[in-house]
Symmetry: C2
Subunit: 138 residues, 2 copies
DNA sequence: TGTCAGTTCGCAACCGATGCGAATAAGGTG
DNA sequence: CACCTTATTCGCATCGGTTGCGAACTGACA
């Protein structure tokens, strides 16, 4: 995701308006490696801007996702998480504390796949489950 | 997933009862490669047993999943799909028609992963997106 | 056949997410 | 700087998927 100042330009260029709510979310998301949910962002945003609506958070998140600035990732059936890292990468989920970390997998594109039977893969997403450094103990 | 007759034994052994509803679902799921949702199974079950409750379908699916006879898989934020194939495998999803097919990936366990930073992976799940043989055209 | 624990099933509730519409505010123009 | 247009905010209602609850029911064993 681009920086808050770049996003201001990008939004205006598209005829979209730059509101305080949006700017706050730009800041909360920039360089955020937490993979927050809409609800988590709403909580953080509310602390700095009481009265902001959850609806607005959802709205801005989907705007940013549509613009390619954000990647929406979902695990299992829980709420969606948002990732400002839009590079080609994958995720590791800690089953203990729920932490999500970005991982880069070499050779993900040349995996030997059996059973494709004519299926033409366009993309692959890999999710590792396990325990993170903090939860694995020492 | 084991065969309907084996499941009858397994259920009784665990003190669970074998009802007509459950037997019907055993049959609908056995050798099913469609990865149906609870709703889809409910529709099929209703055709053969009018009056069966969606609640019962959910109940039995979660029983079977708890017993390890079924694997619950979810893609994006949509409804959960149930897979009687509990072997170690992955999935390919057709973005056109929504078909889900089982695939087997060699070397999935020795992928070169960067960024783990102490994370200990216990399992990996890979989802391919693309177009299936029927939808890819020829 | 009787007894009892496990089941079924409808309804309400829940969660994450989205549609709608009135009030509000951004931002270009005169 | 005031104005006007259009986008945005935000609360509320709604929706889809799923689960909790509890009364009535029914397998399964004695």
């Amino acid at each position: 995701m681009r920086s808050p100042v770049e996003l201001v330009d990008a939004f205006r260029t598209q005829g979209l308006k730059v509101t305080p709510q949006r700017q706050l979310l730009f800041r909360l998301l920039h360089d955020n490696t937490q993979h927050p949910t809409a609800d988590a962002l709403f909580a953080q945003a509310s602390a700095q801007m009481p009265g902001i609506s959850l609806r607005t958070v959802y709205q801005t998140l989907s705007d940013l996702t549509a613009m390619g600035e954000l990647q929406q990732v979902s695990f299992d059936t829980g709420p969606a998480h948002f990732d400002p890292n839009v590079a080609d990468h994958h995720h590791a989920v800690c089953d203990v504390c729920g932490a999500i970390i970005d991982v880069y997998v070499d050779g993900a594109d040349q995996l030997a796949i059996d059973g494709l039977d004519g299926f033409r893969p366009a993309s692959a997403s890999i999710v590792f489950h396990g325990s993170c450094a903090a939860c694995a103990g020492t």
